[in-house]
Amino acid sequence: MLIEDIMNRNVVTVKPTDSIRLAMLVAAQQRIRHLPVLDENNKLVGILSDRDLRDACPSKFECEQNDEIYNRPVSEIMHRDVITAHPLDFVEEAAFSLYDNKIGCLPVIDQDELKGIITETDILHTLVELMGVQYPSSHVEVEVNDQPGMLADVAAVFKQTRSNVTSVLVFPGKHHGKKNLVFRVQTIDTRKIKTALEEAGYKVCWPQEPGGAI
């Protein structure tokens, strides 16, 4: 899945010369946490997070009112070294970039032009969809050898039982040289699948009989 499939295209932005007051107002009204800063040529020159805005404000405990701060331009507090993504990047690259850089959003840039924005919330939502939990489904987990073709072999068993799989995840296994395949299957009754998998020689980690270990 590509960034352009899930990015938000209606980006709310500010200009470097806009005041901090305006930026705070926009962020609050639109209920967003990140504001890309565009210059007069619509080129991305910086980014502001809600934390940058809060850091710039005087403390609540300050006795003297100092409203002057709110009139300063956002160019004074914005981050200029912006980490961005491209519309043709994969979702997993973007997720890794957010995680690795400990940031909450990526402006999406194509040929110097701002095309969209992607936030950690969008990524999480996509992840939820990729895991297939929005359909009524059951969890089936199989331990397989860590070698080529195992996923296809197990998938063939699902085909044979006419089960509709809504998502597949592959995890490193608990045991050396093993991997766990986790399927969400559109059925309430997983017994047929379990039997078919066991007959094909696979170790089924879930479903288990009462008394088994989770």
Partner: protein, 385 residues
């Protein structure tokens, strides 16, 4: 004097039948009624006939297009091309002849129960064929074609403007009913179930609390697999009592799936028959305390139809008809001997389970503590009394 409880039953309930190998088997109703009769806790004047739900009543909850597809599927030899987009013709919910009529009778049974209770002809009414809580607005799911619980609740809202407390104790989350009233603050859907992390339908997390005006009016208690009686009952009693007293309903609708038993083949909870004595007991008490006794009970899941369902639902009827069962009586031998030859498993001889038959649960302490914290979180934003 009016009877405390009526039992909605028809032989035609057997028409809700997918095929011979399907786990959802209404033979369990026959087994249950027979056990009730053998134990002499039900008489002819306790039994009321169901009626058919009309299309207009079904459309209180379901899309007309979907109702049309269900009707056509029941008359067609071939699978309709649109069937799969309505969740029909799948492994779980295959089509079968006259499926619209068969399901409408079940929905009508729950509506009949509703009318009897609301008109004051009885305090409580039981429709064990009902409890089809996975049925969605425009889609069949998890063995359920139409959702009788949702239709009955919508009917209660429309005709009686009643505040409805729905308590769902099936091991599977009551997703269909929850989504029907997700933004309605006059319907509180409370579901205790095995966590959707592993089990169908995958929903019912504590964070599903309702939407908009209805925020706080969906309460979910997802329990860990292998949860046993003590932890199950502690969670049930604490959540149901507090929520019911806080919500102050006009009527209680319960879904009494009995697939949390350790012998049930589709789930992984490890409870015994004891919870099926306690579940209706508390619901019964609360109905009298809060809503003049008005209680409509439906059936639900239950896939060990020989050893679990007849006993569990006998306990339900016994409680609601003011004939609670104490000690551990021996089941009538006439019942056991009549059915033993058809049963593939050995039938139990007593009402409650022998403790030595329970499986050993290796992580009991962790499971109990996790359930405790789930209960605390589930109660955070809902009405509490």
């Amino acid at each position: 004097m009016k009877p405390s409880s009526l039992f909605i039953y028809s032989k035609n309930y057997q028409n809700y039948r997918f095929h011979d190998d399907h786990p959802f088997n209404q033979k369990r109703l026959e087994l249950t009624l027979d056990l009730l009769q053998e134990m002499q806790i039900i008489q002819e004047d306790h039994i009321a006939e169901p009626r058919y739900a009309t299309d207009e009543e079904l459309s209180l909850v379901h899309d007309l297009q979907y109702i049309k597809a269900v009707k056509e599927s029941g008359y067609s030899e071939e699978l309709l091309p649109v069937a799969s987009s309505y969740g029909l013709g799948t492994e779980d919910t295959p089509t079968f002849p006259m499926m619209h009529e068969a399901t409408s009778l079940i929905v009508g049974g729950t509506l009949r129960a509703t009318e009897l209770v609301m008109s004051g002809e009885c305090d409580h009414a039981v429709n064990l064929a009902g409890g089809l809580h996975h049925g969605l607005r425009g889609r069949a799911s998890g063995f359920c074609v139409y959702n009788d619980c949702s239709v009955a609740i919508a009917y209660l809202r429309k005709h009686y403007d009643a505040r409805v407390l729905y308590i769902d104790t099936d091991a599977h989350h009551g997703d269909g009913t929850q989504w029907s009233f997700y933004d309605d603050p006059d319907v509180l859907c409370l579901s205790l179930h095995e966590t959707g992390k592993y089990l169908f339908p995958g929903t019912g997390s504590i964070t599903e609390r309702g939407d908009g005006q209805g925020y706080g009016y969906s309460v979910n208690v997802p329990l860990e697999p292998f949860t046993e009686d003590d932890s199950w009952l502690e969670s049930y009693t604490s959540v149901v009592t507090q929520v019911a007293r806080g919500f102050k309903p006009d009527v209680i609708v319960t879904q009494n799936g009995c697939d949390s038993h350790f012998l049930d083949p589709l789930t992984h909870l490890s409870c015994s028959m004891e919870i099926y004595r306690q579940i209706p007991k508390l619901a019964h008490q609360l109905a009298h305390e809060l809503c003049g006794g008005r209680l409509i009970a439906t059936g639900g899941g239950g896939y060990d139809i020989w050893r679990v369902v007849p006993r569990a639902w006998t306990l339900l009827w016994a409680e609601l008809s003011d004939q609670p069962i104490f000690d551990n009586p021996i089941l009538p031998s006439s019942w056991t001997s009549r059915w033993q030859s058809t049963s593939p498993v050995e039938l139990p001889d007593r009402m409650f389970d022998q403790p030595e038959r329970f499986p050993f649960i290796p992580r009991r302490a962790e499971i109990t503590s996790k359930n405790k914290s789930t209960v605390e979180k589930a109660l955070l934003y809902c009405p509490r009394g």
